[in-house]
Amino acid sequence: MTPAFRPAADVGVTVSRDGATVYVARLPAGPILVLDGAGAVIWAEATEGPADGWIDRVADAFDVPASGIAADALAFVHSLCGDGLLDEADAVRAT
């Protein structure tokens, strides 16, 4: 099982006990980024679950059609990649 994305090498990640919040820190000097709500779910599904169908799983979590959120979800993870917080895994299959 390969996730679609992985945290960048110079990043630390902590997930709250209830899983609702993801804290992402640039290392070694910060800052800390707080992801909650949809941001936390997208991070979790993009980096922890299998690459296959990760956007579907995000959609399921909010009970909305994947087609309605795919563009936003992809834009979000790509912005995280652009900020150096996420790296795209080798074989990314979004849906």
């Binding site: 110079d10 709250s16 820190a25 070694p28 910060g30 980024l33 992801l35 949809a38 936390a40 936003d72």
Partner: protein, 300 residues
Amino acid sequence: MAAREVAEVPAAGATVPLEVRIGFAHASVQWIADRCGADLLHVKGAALDPTLVPDRGFSDADVLVRPAHVARVLAELRQHGWELINSFAYGSSFEHSATLRHHDFGLLDLHRLYPGAGPTPEAAFATLWSERRTTTLGGRSCAVPARGAQAALLLLHAARGGADPKAARDVDYLWHRATDDERQQVLDWVDRLDARLGFSVILGELDEHRDDPAYDLWRVAARGGTRMEEWRARVRAARGLRAKAHVAGRSVLVNVEHLTIVRGRPVSRREVIAEFFDRPLRGAREQLARLRSARQGRNR
């Protein structure tokens, strides 16, 4: 999308819980150690095996650095947003740790030695390092001492805690409630770390070590004492005439770093001079108060 950067300093009401910040403090110093090829062990606090003392709180990150690598790690930390707020000489009577502060990650105690563990700081680190484990802190793989060693180190820490309820709770879990096997593991590590003097506090046998040069340091740490007694203990524990003279000379200097923290701003020359005079007087006042208290006790 729900994402925001947190820029405020650690404070009440901050959106990032303290334990998360501290986890990232561990991750930050580990990142730096990896980058500069330094060995360090994450101790106490977030790094503690959670089965040793349940629900034990913490307020900073602690790391023990291989002594030969301390200068390198300190220099790198200061290059990456960590500000030195208390240096070794003024950290404690054991002069074992420096305190650094980071805007996002909070406080870090960097230990160049672990009080009570020996026979030398280098040997103690090597012994602990030889049986290290790893745990994940702030998303980073971090080296920690073996479980039994963690218990021994925490008990040595508690031995310096005096009447601190947290120290008493640590002793309760790690020693009084421990199984015979767990106690034996602790004792094995105490032997390996040449830590019998410090550990004698836990066993109630400290006074059997009166002849040890470091006895007074542990006595003052465990039972309390005046500032004067603390400095006298430091001088007695220092090895060699040169070291003793160095400690004695420093005892009258002002800890400008500490003053800066207390005042929350850089201190002026006038304040440093005022503190220079006030500090010995404060020590004398404490001595007098103790003498009066003892006299009143005798007259009752």
